[in-house]
Amino acid sequence: VSEATGIEERPVRTYRRPLRNDWWLRRRSYFLYMVRESTVIFMVAWLVWFLYQVAALKFGGYEPPTIDDYAFIAFSVVCLFFTLWHAITFLNLSGLILRVPIGDRFLPAAVIKTVAFGGLLFVTVVGAAIMIYIGYLNI
């Protein structure tokens, strides 16, 4: 019994609306979020293929993909597209999230973003150069 009102208080029977399994189809932004999360499947798939090729190279049975292997090219292009999408959407937010203090101010977001994309470009170019060089040595 409530001391303030003298009325008997009973537990309230509430209703909780369940979240449907298709919640991510009910709003465009939810759908795009799920698509972006799914990009990792393609990234992992390509990585698994790559590791398989490395293992084949070591243990025998290695057959390098050829320029007329259209299935492999299509697979790689799709994986590259999703990987770039994932990386670009991630790095686009770097300026918003990373806070680099300079005195009592912070480095401008545009600078952080430029450095992040520059870093991606640098790592890509260096990585590609190393792989081309290794390939050249093996010819």
């Binding site: 209703y15 909780r16 609306r17 979240l19 932004s29 937010l93 918003l96 806070r99």
Partner: protein, 248 residues
């Protein structure tokens, strides 16, 4: 322009209903009305049994948050002219419904309190020492996160909270960030226990809808991601680079 607009409202009476039902009312269409005006009209003229929360009518109190056509909105800032063919008003998603458009906010209030949203000092200076002064830059660090009006739209928009109610949630984390960034505060090490717990920042998978739904531009998603970065940074600096330094 239409003379009336059909407003469909989710109804739920815990004493008679086992699940919500929908009821449609014809409400006069007025160019300058907001959705809350339509709901007030229903209450005053058509059905006095309709229950809902409201207070200030100017986007300050955060009481009138509801789902309008599935999107969490402040009904006092959502114009009827954007829904001339009709609209559906439901209680905020992800919260237990007490009655009609009224949701239970106990869980939200407990989570807000859990992050200790007040200035914590290791040692209070005496009154005679004067105010704790701040520069404009120092205020600017947290000002955006201090605009939250606790309307809970971010919780209604967050599918992570919908699936896992234990999640601390966007507004509570943004509020914690507001105090962690305050130059007068020394309580971030107390808050990190709550923030970095399994129900804290790491539950967030960065859907980003909390920031899209926020009527005050608080950007809780930014607050969460920044807190993740600071937490990792603090761990690396504190536990790995300076293992014999100050520990709490």
């Amino acid at each position: 322009l239409p003379s009336t607009v059909p407003v469909t409202v989710q109804r739920y009476n815990p004493e008679t209903d086992t699940a919500p039902r929908y009821q449609t009312y014809e409400v006069p269409y007025k160019e300058d009305w907001v959705v809350l005006d339509a709901i007030l009209y229903i209450k005053d003229n058509l059905d006095a049994t309709l229950s809902y929360r409201w207070s200030c009518r100017m986007g300050i109190c955060g009481s009138c948050g509801m789902n309008v056509d599935g999107y969490p909105k402040l009904t006092c800032s959502t114009h009827l002219r954007d829904y001339q063919k009709g609209l559906t008003v439901e209680p905020l998603s992800n919260f237990p419904v007490i009655r009609d458009l009224v949701v239970d906010i106990e869980d939200f209030m407990a989570k807000l309190k859990s992050v200790k949203p007040w200035i914590i000092r290791e040692l209070e200076q005496p009154l005679g020492a004067g105010e704790y002064l701040q520069s404009n830059n120092q205020i600017g660090q947290f000002q955006q996160f201090s605009q939250c009006i606790n309307c809970m739209l971010c919780y209604a928009a967050c599918p992570v909270y919908g699936m896992e109610n234990e999640f601390l949630g966007p507004a509570a984390i943004a509020l914690a960030r507001r105090y962690n960034l305050d130059s007068r505060d020394e309580g971030s090490e107390e808050r990190v226990k709550v923030l970095a717990a399994s129900e804290g920042i790491w539950e967030c998978s960065f859907v980003g809808e909390c920031s899209a739904a926020c009527p005050k531009g608080v950007d809780p998603a930014k607050a969460i991601q920044q807190t993740k970065f600071d937490t990792v940074n603090g761990f690396v600096m504190g536990a790995m680079l300076m293992p014999f330094g100050k520990r709490t």
